[in-house]
């Protein structure tokens, strides 16, 4: 059972990591950020599954912290962008 869970988390991690190819390929900056976002969420999922399969303590708090900060990179990016574009649109 635990082996299956570990396999699932490995698969999730592998999948979202392959998505990181978008960081290099782009083409636009938004794509690079999307891949990062996917890595964050998939990482949380893989982390939770591993934590419950191996009984490492304290992992849920780490996942909580990651979940809280999941959007930070993207919102920082959007903020810079909108300040630069002269804040035209409401």
């Amino acid at each position: 059972m635990n082996e299956l869970l570990l396999a699932a988390s490995g698969l999730i991690l592998l999948a979202v990591a392959l998505g990181l190819a978008r960081v290099l390929r782009g083409p636009s900056e938004v794509e690079r950020l999307m891949a990062l976002q996917l890595l964050g969420t998939g990482g949380i999922a893989a982390l939770l599954v591993v934590a419950y399969a191996t009984n490492v303590p304290g992992v849920d708090d780490v996942a909580l912290g990651l979940a809280l900060l999941a959007a930070f990179a993207a919102i920082a990016f959007v903020n810079v962008l909108e300040v630069e574009q002269g804040e035209t649109e409401a």
Binding site: M1, A15, L18, S28, Q37, A63, A70, A71, V78, E89
Partner: protein, 95 residues
């Protein structure tokens, strides 16, 4: 011997894994940014949601289950809002 709860866990986590894989494939293969964003949000929301659903029967204390749900809720909120923000950026870029 695999119990019914284990089976449920496996099914939910397996489905979650499927959504992450599908999201990645979408991110890599879809032709334009907006459809890639679409694929990403499915993986974010459903993928993690199903994984959390599969883990809930496995927790020993109910407080931990609440924490799992909170994690999912946080990711839902930030994922949804980020998708909105990125979508606005993309829409403006196309004009």
């Amino acid at each position: 011997m695999i119990s019914l709860l284990d089976l449920f866990s496996l099914a939910a986590i397996g489905a979650g894994t499927f959504f992450f894989v599908a999201g990645t494939v979408g991110l890599l293969r879809f032709p334009d940014s907006l459809s890639r964003l679409h694929a990403l949000t499915k993986a974010d929301n459903l993928g993690l949601g199903l994984v959390v659903l599969g883990l809930i029967p496995r927790v020993e204390i109910s407080l931990a289950a609440l924490k799992l749900i909170l994690i999912w809720g946080l990711v839902l909120t930030s994922g949804g809002s980020t998708a909105q923000l990125i979508g606005r950026v993309l829409r403006r870029g196309r004009k």
